[in-house]
């Protein structure tokens, strides 16, 4: 059965995301309170991320900095230190939100086939943050990298007027500094802001709750690993501009990696994450005996993810553990990987369902800018876990 249908698309547009932006806004306005409500009370560790991640939308709604100052008290779960930074740098908050949003999307992309798919029953993130598992390590790292990424990006766009120029703490001489030596790097600024804003939380926890079993230490380290990796994977680009374009004069700058690249890098780190324990002095120690103080291992390990606890069983739904279980997840019947029904459904078996879907097919791309497609009705078999 064929329904011929020709549609027009423009080259700059994504086919899959060709939605009117206003409709997105509407959807998000409606769901925004729903996201925040159940989180606020029970899951303190996460709620701030979730609320900040909504800021992306908030900025779209107000489209500017008007009324931003009032925004900080509305954000749930910010620590006192974060609240202060929020007040001071309120125009940074939409960037933080957008960064977190991108990070979560990337996390879900990376783990789309895993038993843990970076989601919880309530919102994007669950109490996974309360534990210090491998998955939490990944989430911490990608969130802090995402925030640094977005801050650096907005600096480049010129949408953050307060991006640092060179060293901190010399704002009065900035004109002279800039004229004399040029400006610092945006990646550095994003890195610093992300560090200040995200890590301040863990530091406060350190002082308040002395026996958090070193979770803050581990979280901070994973945050740092994410940011460090972002910096490390920024690729330098150079331009020769000497006499006749010769390389006797050369200027280089750093180019941020895409979030997809960061996701790829971090998921590799996730698979090689190190189990650590907190020793009696409150320091981190590797399980297999190698110490953090060994000079060589320390250098090699700074960008590695670490975790304290074993992952919970992601097969079962357990709200107290923050796992959603894999019931209802779509799986691939013949796959041997983590998305195969055997693995994903944890041996519970799967349902088979055949459905008819409409899809664009036999697309012809006409130069330029025009895609002509037919619409086909396909019967597809979907397997879902029991």
């Amino acid at each position: 059965l064929l329904l011929p249908l020709s549609s027009l698309y423009l080259p700059l547009q994504d086919l899959s995301l060709n939605i009117d932006p206003s409709s997105i806004r509407m959807v998000l306005v409606i769901f925004l309170p729903l996201f925040l409500l159940p989180l606020a009370n029970s899951l303190l560790d996460v709620s701030w991320w979730s609320s900040v991640a909504q800021l992306n939308v908030g900025s779209m709604l107000s489209s500017g900095s008007t009324g931003m100052t009032r925004l900080c008290p509305q954000l749930e779960g910010l620590s006192p230190g974060q609240g202060r930074i929020c007040e001071l740098f309120h125009e940074h908050m939409p960037a933080v939100g957008a960064g977190a949003f991108n990070a979560i999307q990337e996390c879900q992309h990376q783990f789309r086939n895993g038993r843990w798919n970076c989601s919880t029953p309530i919102a994007h993130l669950g109490p996974i943050h309360k534990q210090t598992t491998k998955e939490a390590a990944f989430t911490y790292a990608i969130l802090s990298a995402g925030v640094a990424h977005e801050i650096g990006r907005r600096c480049k766009q010129g949408r953050l007027p307060s991006c640092g120029c060179s060293e901190e703490g010399r704002p009065t001489s900035i004109k002279e500094d800039w004229a004399w030596t040029g400006c610092g790097d945006n990646v550095d600024y994003g890195y610093r802001f992300s560090k200040d804003f995200i890590d301040v939380r863990e530091k406060e926890y350190d002082s308040k709750r002395s026996n958090d079993d070193g979770k803050s230490l581990v979280n901070r380290r994973n945050n740092e690993a994410g940011r460090k990796l972002l910096k490390k994977h920024s690729s330098p680009k150079c331009k020769c501009h000497g006499v006749s374009g010769a390389c006797n004069l050369k200027t280089c700058w750093l180019q941020l990696p895409t979030m997809r690249r960061m996701g790829d890098v971090l998921s590799k780190k996730y698979h090689n994450a190190h189990r650590v324990i907190i020793n009696s002095r409150g320091n981190m120690q590797f399980m297999n005996g190698e110490t953090m103080n060994g000079k060589r291992s320390r250098r090699a390990m700074l960008t590695d993810l670490v975790y304290l606890e074993d992952s919970p069983d992601y097969c079962r739904q357990d709200r107290s553990m923050g796992t959603t279980g894999t019931i209802g997840r779509e799986c691939k019947k013949d796959s041997n990987g983590s998305d195969g029904c055997d693995v994903l459904c944890c041996g519970r078996g799967y349902n088979e369902e055949t459905s008819l879907t409409k899809s664009k097919c036999r697309c012809k791309f006409e130069w330029c800018c025009q895609v002509v497609c037919d619409t086909c009705l396909n019967s597809t078999t979907i397997h879902t876990c029991k």
Binding site: K175, W178, G182, C363, E366
Partner: protein, 540 residues
């Protein structure tokens, strides 16, 4: 040969003293770069913000961020334009950025502004990027002075820029969400930086009709799915300009004085000038040109031609320096009957001339044309690129041939001197002057090359965890001031050492035999004896 030059009459002690002093001066040049000057140039990265313009550019509005005048498009993927030519999407970059809540300003001290554009192309199964696609940007550049209102932009250029988009992608990454790796494209080059603020409004118009007819020849049909445009603006740092200018200002009078002194010495000689002396004088003169601190003018007036001029001055210096080496080596071939005759070198000198001319052609085609149109690039047209390639390859080939020949000549000279020394036909002093210059030249060239590679290495290590700690990244300027100072010292030393000695010129005349007699004379003996005794073991 030039008889009785200072170098031959100087005691070893004095010579060593002078060399030590110059060594200190060299260290000082290096230190100035290392401790006073910042890195030579900086860049500022702009991710172009996208604005929607319902008038499609017909109204001629400027779009800017500060003060805000932009109907912001957050993401192109979710934006639905109302027509197919996409003129309503304006990419803007307002240069420079605001930092720490302060609007930064470009200053004339920055000397030049070089703009590059980097296109972010996402892989798409539908909107395919075709290698070698032509990208055409409709660029409007606005400038603003400090006095004018914040939104009163004055049009500086309104041009269509066509470039070839070269992108690659790993075959395994060919899925949505991955990006091509694209070469950075040259956008503009301003030879002076006399406006504090610049604004770029860029459109990527698409002519759907023409694309359907001829997608290869029509620009913007095969550019793929563009996500972002980045502009990178490179400028020279003010601190570096200041240090550089002061160095030049201080050195220039010294070189002028040295040239004047050398010339006076020559004119006091009762014989006509030798070719070698003329060559040294010429070298001194082009160094004066190179050192002339013309850039001071750029601080008060708009002189976009200074960038080209500084290229030309450097080119001239290298041309004369290379010619000088050739003449110097040739003039030591004593048996050559054609000594002291410039036309004897014409074939070899023509290598230098052709190389210089080829580079001149390229430089005029690129930077010369940019005086008229800052967005011009010789590489953007096929014809221009061919001319550019030809001139660069010709220059490379000539330079290579030149060095092969120079090396051959030096070997010949060396051998002939050895032969003569064995037959006791050659004076020690001749040998000494040659050896001295050869060693010194070798040292200077080696240091220049070393400095070049150190700089490259320093820039390469820009990236890395401990980038801030790298000494090399911070000493780029030191290598610049160091090599600059070194070549100044080189020429000054040549002038000083190869000038006719005052102990000599009063009674001297052109005959070598008579000088031989003078050499053994009492007046000279006092100075040359310790020298020859010192150098004897070194030569054996």
């Amino acid at each position: 040969m030039a008889d009785g030059a200072v170098i031959e009459n100087l005691s070893t002690r004095k010579l060593l003293g002078i060399l030590a002093a110059l060594g200190l001066a060299q260290a000082a040049f290096f230190a100035v770069g290392a401790f006073f000057a910042p890195v030579p140039s900086s860049s500022m990265d702009f991710e172009m913000v996208k604005c929607a313009d319902q008038t499609k550019g017909a109204a001629g509005h400027w779009f800017h961020l500060r003060p805000p005048r932009c109907d912001l498009i957050e993401s192109l993927a979710t934006y639905t334009p109302s027509s197919f030519d996409l003129r309503e999407i304006v990419f803007i970059a307002q240069m420079p950025h605001a930092r720490n809540n302060l609007q930064l300003e470009y200053s004339p001290w920055f000397q030049f502004l070089l703009g590059l554009v980097h296109v972010e192309v996402e892989y798409s199964d539908v909107f395919k990027y075709v290698p070698g696609a032509k990208l055409m940007l409709e660029v409007r550049m606005g400038v603003r002075t400090r006095e004018s209102a914040p939104d009163a932009w004055e049009e500086y250029a309104d041009v269509n820029v066509t470039r070839t988009l070269d992108c690659t992608i790993d075959p395994s990454k060919k899925s949505e969400g991955n990006f091509y790796t694209c070469d950075t494209l040259d956008l503009f080059e301003l030879g002076s930086n006399n406006y504090p603020f610049y604004l770029l409004n860029v459109r990527i118009p698409i002519d759907t009709e023409a694309c359907r007819r001829d997608p290869v020849a029509t620009p913007n049909c095969q550019i793929g799915k563009i996500n972002e445009l980045h502009v990178v603006a490179i400028h020279q740092n003010g601190g570096f300009t200041a240090v550089w200018l002061w160095l030049k200002t201080l050195l220039c009078p010294i070189v002028i004085a040295a040239c004047y002194w050398f010339n006076r010495r020559l004119s006091l000689l009762p014989r006509p000038r030798l070719l070698l002396e003329k060559a040294i004088l010429a070298l001194g003169m082009v160094l004066v040109l190179l050192d002339a601190p013309l850039e001071w003018l750029s601080l008060v007036a708009r002189l976009p031609c200074l960038l080209l001029l500084s290229d030309l001055r450097q080119g001239l210096f290298y041309t004369v320096l290379f010619s000088f080496w050739l003449i110097f080596a040739g003039e030591h071939l004593i048996d050559d009957p054609q000594l002291n005759n410039l036309s004897a070198y014409r074939i070899n000198l023509s290598l230098v001339a052709v190389a210089s001319l080829a580079l001149l052609v390229y430089d005029m085609a690129e930077r010369g044309m940019q005086l008229a149109d800052p967005f011009y690039s010789v590489w953007s047209s096929e014809w221009g690129a061919t001319v550019a390639y030809i001139s660069i390859y010709v220059a490379l080939a000539c330079t290579l041939a030149y060095f092969v020949f120079l090396f051959y000549k030096i070997v010949v000279v060396w051998n002939s001197i050895r032969r003569k020394r064995a037959a006791h036909l050659y004076r020690t002093s001749e040998n000494r002057r040659l050896k001295f210059l050869m060693l010194f030249t070798l040292l200077c060239s080696a240091l220049t090359i070393a400095a070049y590679f150190m700089r490259q290495f320093g820039e390469a290590s820009l990236h890395g965890d401990s980038a801030d700690d790298s000494i090399l990244t911070h000493s780029t300027s030191a290598f610049f001031t160091g090599t600059f100072g070194m070549w100044n010292i080189y020429v000054l030393l040549l002038i000083a050492m190869y000038a006719p000695s005052h102990k000599q010129y009063q009674g001297a005349h052109g005959l070598i035999d008579e000088n031989e007699d003078l050499m053994s004379g009492e007046e000279r003996g006092t100075e040359s004896n310790p020298l020859t005794t010192f150098l004897k073991p070194a030569q054996d």
